[in-house]
């Protein structure tokens, strides 16, 4: 991960962790606002419905009162029939008004009231028909009142309720809220929504009919938010006309009624996004700056560690070489064997020193991956490390896998890694001890384990054991790059390196890689090394 990506990641994490609580609180606030708005909208619509219902109720009451007055005024007149018939000229809303007696033919009775029903009116009871559509499709309602001072007579009118349509159609709530009126059976009788008016003519139910029936029956019609005409979600309020049994429903598309809450939602969302963007932008910039400073600091620290290691190791080597040079300057031939041994030893040490640096500088990203028989590989490593082991008085044992273990790897780099582990194990083990290179293959994972019989590793060192320049041996050419290099190589192979250690019982380093099927025998003959091969 480069510095920019790391900076972005850091910035996003910081920004999100900062904004998340704000967003949560904002979301809660929006939900509260939405519910409050929904409740307020429903209340407002209910108020409009109640006003409309009261107005319709008042209109109906006025017409009936007019009919009563007309009945009182005209029914005693000798030409009552004629006077009542002409009432429509002054009171068009009363429609056709007739004086009804026991002998009135059926054809002269109101269209929707039978003789038995009208008889009740003649007996003193006011009666009304259900609302219906007249011949010209306008709404009408037959109503009869007893005729005062005219026993066994009633005055009946076919009330023209065109005004009902006007009331309802004129009501507008917001931009597209409207009113609907239903009879007691849930049949639409007036509609402010043009798209629903066909239902007035056909009598077919509309989505709000259920609400109207429930209201008319005195039941709770449920939540004020429901699917209205055309499946559009609406918020509704309703009111009942107690006498007529009709219901007025006033509704408004939810999207419109809740627009303020929705707007707040969008604004808050936009602010959060802008804040997030801003935080990330500023965070990235600042993180890059801080990371750059850290990198510079880390470089200096690394250089210091390297310098300390080099100073320590090379200083020791220089001291030995100075001492050797002193022996050479003495001209004493007796020192020649010691001078030779010193020079050989120091050259070997310096070679190892150079090799470690060479490994460190080697690019492990371009691997030369080939099938590798780990058993043969372990034997090869054992042979290569045999002389080193001998010098430390240690023997190397190879424990091959039970059924063979193949991986795909860069043989050279893996050998450098395993040799490093074996070399360390030889140095850590006591003279006469053994270093074991064990190969295993379990469930698709092959591993090479290097086990020593040394004193083990201090548990406090284990977590940073594979960090560069963390070696504390300082006994030879060890500047702490070996294990870091091992890890680098194994990581490049997609594998893992781990260590198990207990003080006084040695340590085991394990390189685990994905195993694969061995190649065809002809292409890669499998070789096995015997245990203990050195």
């Amino acid at each position: 991960m480069n510095r920019r990506a790391m900076a972005t990641r850091l910035a996003v994490m910081v920004a999100l962790s900062g904004l998340l609580p704000i967003l949560v609180v904002g979301a809660i606030a929006i939900e509260v606002l939405r519910r409050h708005s929904e409740g307020e909208a429903a209340n407002g619509l209910r108020a409009v419905a109640e006003q409309t219902a009261a107005r319709i109720d008042g209109y109906l009451a006025a017409q009936k009162e007019t009919l009563r007055a007309v009945a009182a005024a005209a029914s005693t007149s000798p030409d009552a029939d004629r006077r009542l018939e002409e009432v429509v000229l002054e009171a068009p809303a009363l429609g056709r008004v007739v004086l009804v007696g026991a002998a009135t033919p059926r054809s002269d009775l109101p269209a929707m009231l039978g003789a038995e029903v009208v008889a009740r009116a003649r007996a003193g009871e006011e009666i009304s028909s259900a609302i219906y559509l007249a011949k010209d499709f306008t709404p009408a309602l037959d109503h009869c009142v007893p005729a005062p001072a005219r026993p066994d007579h009633a005055v009946c009118a076919s009330l023209d309720l065109l005004e009902l349509w006007r009331f309802v159609q004129r009501i507008r709530v917001g931009r597209s809220g409207y009113a609907l009126a239903f009879d007691a059976q849930g049949r639409l009788i007036a509609s402010g929504a043009g798209a629903l008016r066909a239902a007035i003519l056909t009598g077919e139910p509309v989505p709000e009919s259920g609400v109207a029936v429930a209201v008319a029956a005195g039941r709770d019609p449920g939540a004020p938010r429901y699917a209205g005409a055309g499946g559009v979600e609406v918020i509704g309020g309703w009111a009942r006309l107690p006498e007529a049994g009709w219901t007025v429903v006033v509704e408004q598309p939810a999207i419109e009624a809740l627009r303020p809450a929705r707007t707040a939602q969008w604004v808050l969302g936009a602010i959060a996004l802008v804040a997030l963007g801003l935080s990330i932008a500023v965070g990235v910039r600042q993180s890059q700056r801080v990371l750059a400073e850290l990198e510079v600091e880390e470089r200096w620290r690394t250089a210091g560690r390297i310098a300390a290691g080099i100073t320590h190791d090379l200083g020791h080597r220089v001291a030995i070489l100075q001492q050797t040079a002193g022996l050479a300057e003495s001209g004493d031939a007796g020192f020649l064997p010691r001078i030779r041994d010193n020079l050989r030893s120091e050259v070997a040490t310096l070679r190892k020193f150079v090799a470690d640096f060479a490994d460190l500088s080697r690019d492990v990203r371009s691997l030369d991956l080939l099938p590798l028989d780990l058993d043969a590989f372990a034997g090869s490593v054992a042979r290569t490390a045999a002389s080193h082991a001998e010098r430390h008085g240690v023997r190397i044992e190879v424990l091959p896998s039970e059924h063979g273990a193949w991986v795909r790897g860069d043989r050279y780099l893996l050998e450098r890694a395993v040799l490093n582990l074996v070399s360390n194990a030889c140095e850590a083990s006591p003279r006469g001890g053994a270093v074991r290179i064990a190969v295993t293959e379990v469930e698709g994972q092959a591993s090479v384990a290097v086990e020593d019989e040394g004193s083990g590793i201090d548990p406090e060192r284990l977590p940073r054991l594979f960090d560069a320049f963390m070696s504390t041996k300082r006994t030879g050419a060890h500047v702490g790059m070996g294990l870091a290099n091992v890890k680098r190589i194994v990581d490049a192979h997609g594998g893992t390196v781990s260590v198990e250690s207990a003080l006084g019982r040695g340590a085991t380093f394990r390189i685990a890689l994905a195993s694969e099927a061995p190649p065809a025998p002809a292409a890669a003959p499998r070789t096995r090394t015997s245990p203990g091969a050195a």
Partner: protein, 417 residues
């Protein structure tokens, strides 16, 4: 415009299937059965005949006679016309209009056609000829369909559906018209409100505000050729009595009250001739009944019972002369069509009304004089025009009603996006 608008009987017939999307089709909902598209059809196919056939004479906007098929037309007498066909006029199959086509169309209205060199003499046999020529449409039988000279041709015709297409395509105009038969007026209106059809006409004026505000529809209103009238029965009410009554009553105020928003005039101080109460019959519709009641109140003691009639009763009562005053509607525009009701032998002269002066005026071709005489003799009092009301697809920019044929202007309607 057809002479028998009252004879259409509603039938339970399903509306037509919807047209394919993407192409504007005017789908008209019409109550009742449709039947074949032919001149003189008694069915509700008349909306289609107006678009497929053109009459020999038709009124222009001012009411004067014009002809779209004749190069020249000359009145030879009260019952004779001489016309020369315009050679550029073609039937919908592209063939020229011939004498036989004219004779065939004239014969439908009882008018005889005779060759006169390159011209044609049309003879109505003693009846005023102009109104008959308004209804005489040249046509030719061509297999299943009939060909006319109108802007549309018949593609499909049946009792439930008629499909017309424009003879000469015109961009931005209505290319296709479908007429769907519906069970009744209510069904026709409901289907249009639901969007299954996009045009309906013949609505009651009171329904205009009900239709107003329906998404995708626009209410169209306009004058038609019919007028609300009070017509005296000359057989039962003497001319002198008629004239005195007609001269005494505040007709304009009565009309304003019944047809508009005016207050009922005070009539208590008006002098009326003595006589028996006049029985009044009226179409059982809101406006005629109000007119009849207002008239009766104005007549005070002379006002008798008001009888409300449906169409069937109307024809019987008129033929039997069982009324003193009739309140209803009358075909009154252009003035020559009054001859149908007030000339001897007129097509709609159900009461056998006869007046030498009026007959003479019609014979002279002076319809204005005939109308003046009708009013002077107080045969009829013209009260208020009957408005045509309909609703059409709101994408049509300039929908309007023809003053004569209800859809006369349809070929010029422009369709917006």
């Amino acid at each position: 415009m057809r002479p028998t608008p009252f004879l259409a009987i509603a039938a339970l017939v399903a509306c037509s299937r919807p047209a394919a999307p993407g192409r504007f089709v005017l789908r008209l909902a019409v109550p009742g059965i449709l039947g074949p598209v032919r001149p003189g059809s008694d069915t509700n196919a008349s909306a289609a005949t107006d678009l497929v056939f053109e009459s020999i004479l038709s009124p222009d906007a001012s009411g004067r006679a014009r002809s779209t098929i004749a190069r020249t037309f000359q009145r030879l007498g009260s019952d004779r016309y001489r016309i020369e066909l315009d050679p550029r006029v073609r039937l919908s199959d592209g063939s020229p209009v011939e004498f036989d086509d004219v004779a065939r169309g004239a014969a439908v209205m009882g008018v005889k056609a005779v060759r006169d060199g390159d011209a044609i003499i049309l003879d109505s046999g003693g009846r005023p000829i102009e109104p008959l020529l308004y209804y005489s449409t040249p046509f030719r039988e061509a297999g299943v369909h009939r060909l006319g000279t109108g802007p549309y041709r018949v593609v499909e015709e049946g009792q439930s559906r008629i499909a017309l297409e424009r003879v000469v395509p015109a961009p931005g105009r209505i290319q296709q018209v479908e007429i769907a038969a519906c069970a009744n007026d209510r069904d026709a209106l409901a289907r249009t409100l639901r969007g299954e059809t996009n045009g309906v006409f013949g609505l009651e004026a009171r329904l205009a505000e009900f239709v107003d505000g329906i998404p995708g529809l626009r209410v169209v209103r306009g004058p038609g050729p019919h007028v609300r009238v009070a017509m005296f029965n000359q057989a039962r009410v003497s001319a002198a009595d008629r004239r005195r009554i007609a001269g005494s009553l505040p007709w304009e105020a009565i009309a304003r009250h019944a047809c508009g928003d005016g207050a009922m005039p005070s009539v208590a101080s008006m002098a009326l001739p003595d006589g028996p109460p006049l029985s009044i019959v009226a179409f059982d519709e809101s406006q005629p009944v109000r007119l009849a009641l207002a008239l009766r109140r104005a007549l005070r003691g002379r006002g008798g019972a008001v009888q409300r009639l449906d169409v069937t009763e109307y024809l019987r009562v008129m033929s039997a002369h069982e009324f003193d005053v009739f309140v209803g509607q009358l075909l009154a525009w252009p003035p020559p069509v009054l001859a149908l009701s007030f000339s001897r032998g007129g097509l709609f002269n159900y009461t056998n009304f006869s007046s030498p002066e009026i007959d003479a005026a019609f014979a002279r071709g002076d319809a204005e004089a005939a109308r003046a005489a009708i009013e002077r003799e107080a045969v009829v009092v013209f009260l208020c025009p009957r408005e045509r009301v309909g609703a059409f697809d709101a994408r049509i920019r300039n929908a309007s009603f023809g003053r004569w044929g209800v859809l006369d202007t349809l070929p010029d309607w422009e369709v917006g996006p």
